[in-house]
Point group: C2
Chain length 189, copies 2
C-alpha cells in the first residue's frame, strides 16, 4: 500500500540543464533548468520549461534559439550559481568565470566549460501554467574530445553529468553501468 | 574546441519512466519511456513522449490518463522488459510478474513493484514529429513507505532510480549527494 504525498513535481532523475541565450543587447546568459528532457527523436528535440519571470524567457522568444549544456560534477558550483543569480542584474558568465562561445549554427551562446552542448532552434512554445515549455530542434550536439570514448560516442562516466533531486534539492552524480537496455529484460519475456 | 556529433538525441541524464495505461478492453499495460520529464510546477505536470506506433498511444488518447512509475535498480529487468515487449502481443504485467494496481484517482494502472508513482490526467497533446508529447497533470504522487526519509520526503538513494544513457543505451544508478542546490553556487557570486 503506497502512501499519498500529494500533487508534487517529484521525478527521479531530473537533469541539470544549462540553458544559454543572448538578450536583446547581445549579452550572453546562462540559466539552470531541471524541468526538461528529450521529447522527440525525428526531428531530434529537447524541451525546457521556464517561468515567464526568468530573464531567459524573453531571450528565447526574441532570438528563437537556445543552447542546452550538460552540467557536470567538476562545474557544480558554476551550474548552481547560474540558477541563483539573474541575468537581469549581472553578467553571469563574467561573474562565474565561464567562457561564452557563440554557436555557429543558432543565435545563442554556450559555456565552453560544460563538456557537451545541444544547439537548438525554437520549434514550439507551449504555455502550460506557471511554466512555459520551449521545444527546441537539436541542430547539432558538440562535445569535448576528452568525454568521447574510443568509439566516438559520448561516455556518460566521462561527462559526469549532475542529477537534480527534486525531493531534497540536491545534486548527485551518476553511478556505474548496471545493464544494457533492450537486453537485460529478455530474461523476463 | 568542441567536436560536432550531429543532430542527435543526446542528453544526460534521462529518466526511465514506467508509463501505465489501460487499453479499451481494460487490460493494463506498462511501457518504458526515457523521453520525458517535469514540465511545469503549477499545475504540477510531467511530459512523456511516445511514438504513434506504441500500443500505449491509443490507450492514453482514449482514457485521457496515465501513470508514471520510477524504474528502480532492483527491478531493472522488468523495466527493460516492458520496453521490449508490446501490449499488442502480450499482457506485460502477467508475463513479467508485475502487479497491476488501479489508481484511485485516474483511469490508469501502475505496477506495485516500482517505489514511486505519479498519477496523471492528460492535459495537453502535442504532435512534434515521430513522437507525440503527452503532458499529464500530476494529481497525486504515491510512494512506498520504505523509500521515505524520516522527514517524510522521498529519499533518492532509497528509491535507487535508474538512469538511461542516451549514447550507449545502458542503465546506470544514482551516485551519492555531491552538494545542495541554491547553495553550493553562492561561492561564485
Amino acid at each position: 500500500m503506497k502512501k499519498s504525498l500529494g500533487a508534487k513535481t517529484l521525478l527521479f532523475p531530473t537533469p541539470v540543464l544549462m540553458v544559454g541565450t543572448y538578450d536583446r543587447t547581445g549579452k550572453p546568459n546562462l540559466m539552470n533548468a531541471a524541468w526538461g528532457g528529450i521529447c522527440c527523436s525525428q526531428p531530434p528535440c529537447v524541451a525546457v520549461s521556464l517561468r515567464k519571470a526568468r530573464y531567459s524567457y524573453d531571450c528565447i522568444v526574441e532570438r528563437k534559439a537556445f543552447t542546452v549544456g550538460i552540467a557536470c560534477e567538476a562545474r557544480m558550483a558554476e551550474a548552481d550559481y547560474v540558477g541563483i543569480a539573474s541575468g537581469r542584474d549581472v553578467d553571469k558568465f563574467a561573474v562565474s568565470g565561464l567562457t561564452p562561445v557563440r554557436s555557429d549554427l543558432v543565435d545563442a551562446p554556450y559555456a565552453a566549460e560544460f563538456p557537451l552542448v545541444l544547439e537548438c532552434r525554437l520549434l514550439h512554445t507551449l504555455e502550460i501554467g506557471l511554466h512555459t515549455q520551449f521545444i527546441g530542434e537539436i541542430i547539432d550536439v558538440k562535445a569535448d574530445d576528452d568525454v568521447l570514448g574510443d568509439d566516438g560516442h559520448p561516455d556518460i562516466m566521462k561527462i559526469s553529468p549532475l542529477i537534480y533531486d527534486t525531493a531534497r534539492k540536491g545534486y548527485h552524480g551518476v553511478g556505474p553501468l548496471l545493464g544494457r537496455a533492450f537486453s537485460v529484460g529478455k530474461t523476463k519475456g
